[in-house]
């Protein structure tokens, strides 16, 4: 078997330059919004004392969860190489998978940091630790993840270090599971809130990361269509179809169990009625966003075969996979919106079974309308992740190439 070769991204098209400028503009826009939030205070956002984490956190957590999930490709190539997944296609794209894992995490962290009430005190967060806080664990999980993936990439890039790829891959795989565990635990261990307080949040977030990460990688592969033609790309897309389908089912399964467990507890009936039926935007996002657009339709696209036409062509199959992946991402945002904002909008039950009211909105469903600034910050985070990615692609050989194509080689 010929050794895999990698190349830098050599495209210098108008499209590439437009993309650079557009992403740069989004990043600047996000920074300007963050500055406004910092100078005026958070009242300029839709957040309040009732909904303390808003849509910017939806973006941030989406990016962090997806960052660990996007490493799937690399993990499969080096951790599970001995089983049926062994494929050159995964190995070919492992480098890009590692790069995206780092950049998406950085984008998510940028949002989280700039949304802080005192972003200028980042140094305090890096020097003062309360080790009982899951947030403090996450600081180490995030920085550790970046370091481990950098080492992992180094093992892949440096031919003399290739023999350590598997060890580094196993470490990165273990760490990414820990990372998503930490992210799920941020919510799962909140004993006070009816929406959270479920250890089930941890496996749910792990499954979400696998699903969103795979879908995100499919979209990245598809967007590289015009520039990079490799047989590994087609092969990888074909393989990702089954994988993504399984991950969607896993997320759906844990979601069902989570709601069934809550429906079984009389004390949570009111909350379930809110989040599944009466809660306005939240049930709508749950049923239409997460379940229909994010799960059912993608599953049909991935697995449904007409009895009449039989097997569909690879081209159609791949097109369906790309559409399904886009829908999984949209459904993922809806799911996180319901979890993060719906969970806060439902009032705390200080006195179960009682009607409670106050000047501080006790007993009321909190209203929340996301502001421009929060969206700007959220899109700024995504743009930063993509901007760093496409810049790094130009200087380091991350993309696989076929032997007959010219370009820089490693």
């Amino acid at each position: 078997m010929a050794r895999l070769r990698h190349t830098t991204f050599s495209g210098n098209s108008r499209g590439y330059r437009v993309l650079l400028v557009a992403l740069g503009a989004l990043v600047v826009n996000g920074l300007l919004s963050a500055r406004q939030m910092d100078q005026a205070g958070h009242w300029v956002t839709g957040m309040s004392n009732q909904v303390v984490w808003g849509v910017a956190h939806v973006f941030a957590i989406f990016l962090i969860v997806t960052a660990s999930g996007v490493l799937n490709i690399a993990s499969i190539s080096s951790v599970f190489e001995r089983d049926v997944y062994k494929s050159e296609a995964y190995t070919a794209w492992a480098r890009l998978s590692g790069l995206l894992a780092i950049t998406l995490l950085l984008g998510g962290l940028l949002i989280l940091v700039l949304d802080l009430g005192r972003p200028d005190r980042l140094i305090v967060a890096m020097t003062h630790y309360n080790f009982k806080s899951i947030f403090a664990w996450n600081v180490f999980l995030y920085t550790g993840f970046v370091l481990i993936v950098v080492v992992y990439l180094w093992m892949m890039f440096e031919q003399r270090m290739n023999r350590f790829v598997r060890s580094a891959g196993i470490a990165a795989f273990a760490w990414r599971i820990l990372l998503t565990t930490g992210t799920g635990a941020i919510f799962g261990f909140l004993v006070a809130r009816q929406a959270y307080d479920m250890a089930m949040m941890v496996p749910l977030f792990i499954a979400m990361s696998l699903s969103f990460g795979s879908a995100f990688f499919v979209l990245i592969l598809a967007s590289l269509h015009q520039h990079v033609h490799t047989k590994q790309k087609v092969e990888l897309l074909t393989r990702l179809r089954m994988l993504l389908g399984n991950f969607i089912i896993a997320v759906l399964f844990i979601t069902v169990i989570d709601h069934l467990a809550k429906l079984y507890a009389a004390g949570l009936h009111d909350f379930e009625r809110f989040i599944l039926m009466d809660g306005g935007i939240y049930p709508a996002m749950f049923w239409f966003g997460q379940v229909l657009i994010g799960s059912v339709v993608p599953l049909l696209l991935l697995f449904w075969r007409s009895k009449i036409s039989g097997n569909i062509s690879m081209e159609i199959s791949i097109r369906r996979l790309v559409i399904a992946s886009g829908m999984v991402i949209a459904g993922g945002f809806a799911q996180l919106y319901v979890i993060i904002i719906g969970g806060q909008a439902y009032p705390l039950a200080l006195f179960p079974g009682m009607e409670v009211s106050s000047s501080f909105f006790d007993g009321e469903i909190a209203s929340y309308t996301p502001s421009f600034h929060e969206f700007a910050l959220g899109f700024g985070g995504i743009a930063l992740a993509l901007l760093i990615t496409i810049l790094v692609l130009r200087v380091l050989p991350f993309l696989p190439q076929e032997d007959q194509l010219s370009g820089k080689q490693t």
Binding site: G117, S133, A192, Q344, L350
Partner: protein
């Protein structure tokens, strides 16, 4: 050198006797220190766990429609809202508020003040990444405004919705309650008054009207009025299912 060799039993007996002689003395010193803390409450002294400040709310004495405790708190801490009036209630800070409660089954109605419950195992302290949320030795839960990064995780973790985030620039702050935009805050039992040997502002205001619904004191001092009442009355901790050992107890709910 002492010639006589002591047997093990003699050594143990002597040590036991010494301990019995000294122990009450040590205990007396402890009590004296605690008493002096309560009485003099020197500002420069570190707090210790000989005292645990707490409060009893007698819901039966809480008058309908009365907000004197809330008003006193807002004055004491300078909680005025933007432009000195409550223009944005959803983002304005409230350290204490009155809850109107109605039993859906029986129709029984009552009101009570709700604020930071100064839990022994406070969820806000557990989740704070930098340790800015902390519990003083004497049981008062505080936020260090210099290390709070404004992540608001404590607000998600608090079962009592007791915390507020400062959403805007502040002017004309009260010197005894330094606040900061972008940080989280909550009832601090008027720690500056307590350290001077005074009562929290809400307790004083409630007493002025003769309602006496709020009683503040040392839960660790068996002779305090608070301890006496807590011993005699059947009081409740809100969300006692969480087993947080709150410093604020309610009677009559």
């Amino acid at each position: 050198m002492i010639g006589k060799k002591l047997s093990r039993r003699e050594v143990l007996t002597a040590a036991g006797a010494a301990l019995l002689t000294l122990a009450p003395g040590v205990k007396l010193v402890d009590l004296a220190v605690a008493a002096s803390k309560t009485a003099n409450a020197s500002k420069d002294e570190a707090t210790d766990n000989l005292v645990r400040w707490g409060m009893l709310v007698d819901v039966n004495k809480c008058a309908d429609g009365c907000t004197d405790c809330v008003d006193a708190c807002n004055d004491e801490h300078g909680l005025r809202g933007q432009n000195n009036h409550n223009s944005r209630p959803e983002t304005d800070a409230q350290y204490i508020r009155v809850l109107d409660i109605k039993d859906k089954t029986t129709g029984k109605q009552y009101s009570l003040p709700m604020m930071c419950q100064h839990c022994e195992t406070a969820p806000c302290v557990d989740v704070c990444p930098t340790g800015a949320s902390f519990r003083r030795e004497d049981g008062i839960v505080l936020v260090d405004k210099h290390t709070c990064i404004g992540c608001r995780y404590c607000m998600l973790a608090c079962p009592y919705k007791a915390r507020s985030f400062v959403h805007e620039n502040l002017t004309d702050q009260v010197p005894t309650t330094p606040r900061g935009k972008g940080t989280v805050e909550s009832c601090n039992f008027c720690v500056h008054r307590v350290d001077r040997g005074e009562q929290p502002a809400c307790v004083e205001a409630c007493g002025k009207l003769g309602h006496q619904a709020l009683l503040f004191g040392d839960m660790n001092d068996p002779d305090s009025e608070l301890s006496r009442q807590l011993r005699e009355k059947s009081t409740t901790q809100v969300r006692d299912d969480l087993n947080l050992n709150t410093g604020v107890r309610y009677y009559g709910i």
